[in-house]
Structures are given as C-alpha cells and as structure tokens.
C-alpha cells in the first residue's frame, strides 16, 4: 500500500498528464484524509464547550480548574455563587430590552432604506454599517467618553443604549435582505384590495418579513447577551453575565457559571431543533 502510494504521489508530481492509476490513488488518499482533518477540526471547535459542560459537574472548592469528582451540586443550586444569578437576570433584561428596541427601529430603517427614495439615503445606508466595522474597544471607549462628558452615570441605562446602538446595524442588514426579496406589487395589490397603508403593513408586509425579523431579533439578542467589551466600558458597577465571568476569572470561576453557560447552550440547541421540526412538519402538511 505505502509503496504504491509513494509511487503514485511521485507520478502525480512528475508525469503529466496523470496516469489514471495515480489519479485514482490520490483520490483514495483524499477520501481517507479529509474525514480525519474534519474530525480534528470539529474536536478543536467543540473541546471548550465540552469542557464547560463537564466542569459544571465538578466538585470544586475555591477554583474550578482541576477535576475533583462528579457532583450535581452546582446544577441543584445554580444561584449558589454570590451575584451569579443577579448578573444573569441583568443580562437577560438588557438583552430583551435592547433586542425589542433595536428590532423595531432596525426593521423600520430597513424598510425605509429599500422602499423609499429620499435625500441622504445612500449616506444612511453607509452609516448604518459603521458600528459593525468599528473595533468594539474604540466604540466602547468613545461611548463612555460621551456619557461622561454628558455627566451620565454609567449603569443599566447606558448599557441598554450601547447595546441598542450596535444591535440596530445587524437588524438593519438582516431585515434589508428580506425586504429586498419582497415584491412591491404585493403591497400595491393589498392597497388595490381596500387595505389602508396600516392594514397593508400588518396583513401583507409584516407577515412576509417575519422570518427575517425573527432572525434579526435572535441575532440581536445573542449579540447583546454575549457582549463584553462595550459593556465593560459603559456599565459602571452594573454587572452583566459576561462581565461577572470575566471579573470572577481572577479569583476562580464558580461552577455555577458553567451551569448557566451550559444551560444557555442547550436552550439554543433546543430552539434550533424545534424550528427545524416545525419547518419540516409544515412542509409535509402542504
């Protein structure tokens, strides 16, 4: 096997055109090697997640770095560590409010940018992208400078404002793609069939945009829930979950943080599976 392979490889390099035998041999190598590389790549991607989940069951004392044995203690009492649930609730509150505001505003902006011709439209289109392309550190620091010069104390309110700002960009981009595929004749048909502009929006435009809006909202929430850099600049003493994990890393992350992280991961996974099941069953029903 190895002899023929070596011969095939040299043949492949020197002789041209390739003899069919060499080509077949090379193909066989590819068939064997690609799955190995793929497996390694996935392992590399998944190890941190597996680690997080595994160490949520660790019987830890002060630090959660060494495996000391299996326990359900942290899962039974996820709020056991000081402040961890406070931080989680804070993150959820910020995420929900920022998502709601950014989704509504972003959707309206997206519709306006696609459907209407107005002065400054091209500029608005460009400016909407800026928060996405600016480094978060710069954005966070600049925002803090603004808040301080306006004498606004950083806290819950400033964090929500900051999150709304960067989430809007992503919502606009996501919803815009959906609006662009929407046939403007459908809205005309609605108007022709006695629907007022408001009715036409809720009966035709909105239901057709809903998949895009839902995707944008999920994206916005996950961005907000995840954000550390901008939050860290603009939160003062207010603590979100990522900030809690970062701060506690210096003294040892409690296993409860692993529990919450794992739970979020499982929830997201279940959500994806549920959406898939609904789509499949709906397709079957038609």
């Amino acid at each position: 096997m190895s002899g023929t392979t070596a011969a095939a490889v040299t043949a492949g390099v020197t002789a041209r055109p390739d003899p069919p035998a060499a080509r077949a041999a090379r193909w066989r190598i590819g068939e064997a090697v690609v799955p190995i590389i793929a497996t390694l790549a996935f392992a590399y991607l998944l190890v941190p997640i597996v680690y997080t989940v595994a160490f949520s069951f660790n019987d830890s004392v002060r630090t959660n770095l060494v495996w000391r044995g299996f326990t359900l203690e942290a899962w039974r009492n996820p709020c056991g560590a000081p402040q961890v649930c406070r931080a989680l609730v804070n993150s959820l509150q910020v995420g929900l409010i920022a998502t709601a505001v950014a989704t509504v505003l972003g959707t309206l902006i997206a519709i306006a940018l696609v459907r209407y011709r107005f002065r400054g439209r091209a500029l608005a289109n460009l400016l909407v992208f800026l928060p996405m392309s600016t480094p978060e550190v710069v954005l966070g620091a600049a925002l803090l400078a603004q808040f301080l010069s306006l004498r606004v104390n950083p806290g819950f309110g400033t964090v929500v404002l900051a999150h709304v700002m960067f989430c809007i960009s992503f919502v606009v981009v996501t919803v815009k793609a959906r609006v662009a595929t929407l046939d403007p004749r459908l809205e005309e048909a609605a108007a022709d069939l006695y629907a007022s502009p408001v009715q036409a929006f809720w009966r035709v435009t909105f239901p057709l945009l809903l998949p895009g809006i839902a995707a944008a909202a999920l994206l916005a929430f996950s961005l907000s829930f995840d954000d550390f850099i901008i939050t860290n600049f603009n939160s003062g003493s207010f603590t979100t979950f990522p900030k809690f994990v970062y701060v506690s890393a210096t003294r040892g992350i409690p296993p409860q943080a692993n529990v919450i992280g794992s739970a979020m991961f499982v929830l997201a996974l279940l959500l994806v599976v549920a959406v898939q099941l609904v789509t499949v069953s709906r397709r079957r029903r038609r």
């Binding site: 046939d183 004749r185 459908l186 005309e188 048909a189 609605a190 108007a191 022709d192 069939l193 006695y194 629907a195 007022s196 502009p197 009715q199 036409a200 009966r203 035709v204 239901p207 057709l208 038609r286």
Partner: protein, 383 residues
Amino acid sequence: MDGASSGTGLSLERVTKEFGAFVAVDDLSLHVPAGSFFALLGPSGCGKTTTLRMVAGLERPTRGRVRLGDEDVTDRRPHRRPVNTVFQSYALFPHLSVLENVAFGLRRRRVAEPLTRAHEALALVEMDHLADRRPALLSGGQQQRVALARALVNNPAVLLLDEPLGALDLKLRRQMQVELKRIQTEVGLTFVHVTHDQEEAMTMADTVAVMNAGRIEQMGSPADLYELPRTAFVANFLGQSNLLRGTVVEGPSVGPGSVLAVDVGTGRRVLVPTERAVRTEGEVLVGVRPEKLHLVTRDEEVPWDVNVVGPGRVTDVAFSGVSTQYQVAVPGLGTLGVFVQNISGGGEVRVGDEVHLACAVRHAFGLDGAEDVASGVAEDGAA
C-alpha cells in the same frame, strides 16, 4: 363603495403623467361606457400600463382628472377606489391560502360571509377545489384564475387587467381569452384590459384604443380599426398593411361615391374613396390590407372600381394550409404582401412569376403622407 352591481363608466380627461422629463402619458382623454370590455393596445413602453395604474390610484396623474361614473377619484388613494386590478405578475399573497387571497378584499371592507363569497368566486373560475392550497403550488394558469377571482369577488365598478395573459402559453392564452369574455358577459362589469397582443385585444374587446408614445392613435370597434385605420401606426400594428406613398392628382370628385386619384409613382394611378382618406390633397399614403389584394396574371380589362398595380415579380410563397402568403416586388413601389385563401386548392402562382395586383377601390384607405411607412411594423406583439 359597494354599490356597483353592473359596472360604472370610466372617463379620463386630458390626463398627463410625467416621470421627470419622460412623458409616459400625454394629454390622454377617453371614455369607457359602463359594462363594456375596453382594450388598451400598444407596444411596451407606450404608456398603457401607466394609464391603468392611474385608474387604480397607484400613480398620480401630473395633470388631468380621472372619473368613475360621476365621481372624480383623481385624489383618492387606491384603497378608497372601487376598482380592482389583475396584475401582470398576479401578485398573489404567498403567505395566504387561495381562499384567503380571494377573501382579502372582502375582509378589508367587512363584507358579510367573506368565505362563502370567496368560494363562489373561485367556483366561477373553476378553482374552488384548490381553495386550501398556497399560491406557490399552483401553475401559472391557475394563479391567473385566482388573481381574477380575487379581483372579481369585490364586484368592482371597473375591473383592470394588466396583461393578465402575458405569462401563459399560447394555447392556455386562447382558452383564457374565451373564458374572460364569458365571465365579463356573465357578471356584466366594466373591464379595462391592457395588452400588447393585437389578436387578444380584437377577439375580446368591444372597443379598442391603440396607444403609441403616450397618446391614443385611434379608438373604435375592432372591425372599424382594422378596416379603416387612420394612422400608419394603427395600419401596421393592427394586422398588416401595404402602404404606397403618392400624391393626390385629381379629386375629390363630387357627389356620392366620391374618390381621389393618387399617383403612386411613374404615372400609376390608384383610386381611394374620399370618405376613407385622412387627407384629400398633397402627399398621402394609400393603404390596402393583404387579404384584400388579388393576384391577376394578365393586365386584363378591369372594371373602374378596381385598382390594379403591376407588373410585379413573386419573390416568396408561404403556404400555411388555410391561406398562402405571397410577397410581390413591384418596381417603383417596393414589396407588397398578398394573402390568398385556399379556396381553389393549391397555388398556381410560383416564385418568379409575373403578376398584377388588384384590389377593390372601396377597400383602399388614405393616410397622411407625412407619416413613416414603417411606423408600428416591427413592434412587439404583432402575432
């Protein structure tokens, strides 16, 4: 808004629509009587769809008024006008079932029992068995029927049809033409149909308006338009025409049966009835339809009421079963088309034969000589 049970008349008064510097519709006036089937016929870009959209309220006229019956609706938004449109792309709502698509207008107006009425409308277009489907799962012809039902169910004062058969294949198109006409007769609504297909316009409409470059070239019954076109564009766009350039040399003669004598070059004279001529002096175009021409082999003696030109040489013979189309090149006049019905069975005339062309004087028509002979010839849709 709901009152229209048998259609309403529609009037456009000096309507102009400009898009920037481009004039899409140019000072257009027309009247569509209640309950009639009216066709706006013209090549793409002639302003016919813009005209329709102004009636629907989807475009605002730059100048002029739109009236439905006695009511001025120029400033009314589309959802407040008692008109409905069958869009070219159908524009069915993809997220609603066929039934809900049809019930959409009824629900917006809070009509009682919308679903029952929607079922009735679907039955009218023979689509009730697919009421629960989504539009995406229907064929083009089926979507077209649903779009028609969705508009008809509202019993509009005027039903607007924007090239509704454009996306269908030829066979289905012919079938739907017959069906549309049947439905129009059955419900008695006013239909305004926009098309670039002259055959479609002629088979369905009571009145046809031929549009070109934002203006109406001529309006009338299909037979009138065909038999007596008043512009070169109409003569060429609606069917085919042989147009000969010439100068009036005599006439009009006095009394009934008045004629003009026209010199069509090198001393050849043809006669045109004065009442069928747009101009009675100077430069004119003499027109004759190809099926009104006959081939005569000799320069035989002809009665005074027949025009003869020739000799010419046959350059092409196209046999299509029912008829044969000949192309005859006459020196000094160009190439003329001739349709001969296959009554005698098989043609005796071959390519290269020398023939004369004869045509009854009463079939000739006279147009303004300043017009382009080829106007409207190569436009789309001349089926």
